[in-house]
Symmetry: C2
Subunit: 204 residues, 2 copies
DNA sequence: GTCTATAATAAGATAGAC
DNA sequence: GTCTATCTTATTATAGAC
């Protein structure tokens, strides 16, 4: 059974992800979901912000599960991250309008007066980075390096979603998938940097 | 002389960057700038959206110049990008509230009805990626790889700004600066064996 | 070019019947 | 739990004096 509360969380979550907080009106949430004002304020007495906080936290949990599932399916972290980002690109290619970083817009809009919303976004981003970090540590990466790589993975995916939006195309996510795999691939023991030793013509 | 038009562009640009389009009201632009409604609608008869478009395009030009200046100051592209992102991190550390990707929030908010705003954002992101791409091509990177790397650099910086916002700290940008340098020093996937200096094997 | 009063609309939230 | 009428406030935009 699909509860009213679930309907509100899903509708609000999708709109917040795509448009951000201020561009998403209570009226729009109601018209899209087909629900009535009374239901919203019954389930979320705190109104729009309380619903937004709950929707963000709900989507954060789902995002973490999605990431963990994909990372758990492939052993090598470089391959796993590449497959995960390719899956996101496929999703964007299939539904170009849904090309959105889940929390970026709301995070940037959550200024003074929306502290609880900002806390929810912080929680979301912390959890997502932790997923990548755990995978990297489990693959014998040094903890500090794992944290650094997790931040870059999270950031690059978010930014790629934005580029997908402006391009109307999934290519940026595919480019990020490929390059993150390059970054995560451990250099051969001998140190492959030797070949790169002579960048002729690059000095000014 | 600081013209009224310039004051409007700077004020609106800063607020749009920090808060996005819908969270930034005309009233706020006026109160922060100390100007009056009449001035705004005189210089921008199209109202809020016309001002926003002009402010975005103005900031896009400035961003490109900032990037070109930093990339031009250092020969090696890995070092140059690292220095650029470190400079952004310093800026964030100095003014933590100013931790914002310049165009991400507005891009994500620019849905149906704000097509001109979206076009301005597309123009901004295209120009920024082109700056990195040009630097990489000039450093003997294969064009397709340069485009891919430029997208990743742009995306990672944008995403790092968002993480800086939620963390209240410049660390994500510093992590991205370090890891992008690692990525840019890494030989391409195909396995650039010896002498990356001669772009052998770049033909398909 | 600039200022202010006002219009027109949309926003989020509430009250009370059912 | 759900629905609808209504309140309050904030929004963008315009008109017309200066």
């Amino acid at each position: 059974m699909i509860t009213t509360r679930r309907m509100l969380l899903d509708t609000a979550g999708a709109l917040l992800e795509r448009q951000g907080y201020h561009a998403t009106g209570v009226n729009q949430i109601l018209s899209v979901s087909g629900l009535q004002r009374g239901s919203l304020y019954h389930h979320f007495p705190g109104g729009k912000e309380e619903l937004a906080v709950a929707a963000i936290l709900d989507r954060a949990r789902r995002s973490e599960r999605f990431i963990e599932r994909h990372l758990g399916a492939v052993g090598d972290p470089a391959d796993a991250v590449q497959a995960l980002v390719e899956a996101l690109a496929d999703r964007v290619a299939h539904d170009a309008d849904g090309a959105s970083p889940p929390f970026a817009a709301v995070t940037l809009e959550a200024g003074p007066g929306l502290e609880r919303l900002r806390d929810a976004c912080r929680h979301a981003y912390t959890g997502i980075r932790a997923c990548f970090e755990a995978k990297l540590v489990a693959s014998a990466h040094e903890p500090a390096r794992a944290a650094s790589l997790a931040a870059v993975i999270t950031a690059a995916i978010d930014g790629a979603f934005v580029l997908c939006r402006v391009d109307g195309d999934a290519s940026p996510l595919r480019q990020v998938a490929k390059e993150l795999a390059v970054l995560l691939r451990r250099p051969p023991p001998g140190g492959a940097t030797a070949a790169r030793a002579a960048p002729v013509g690059t000095d000014v």
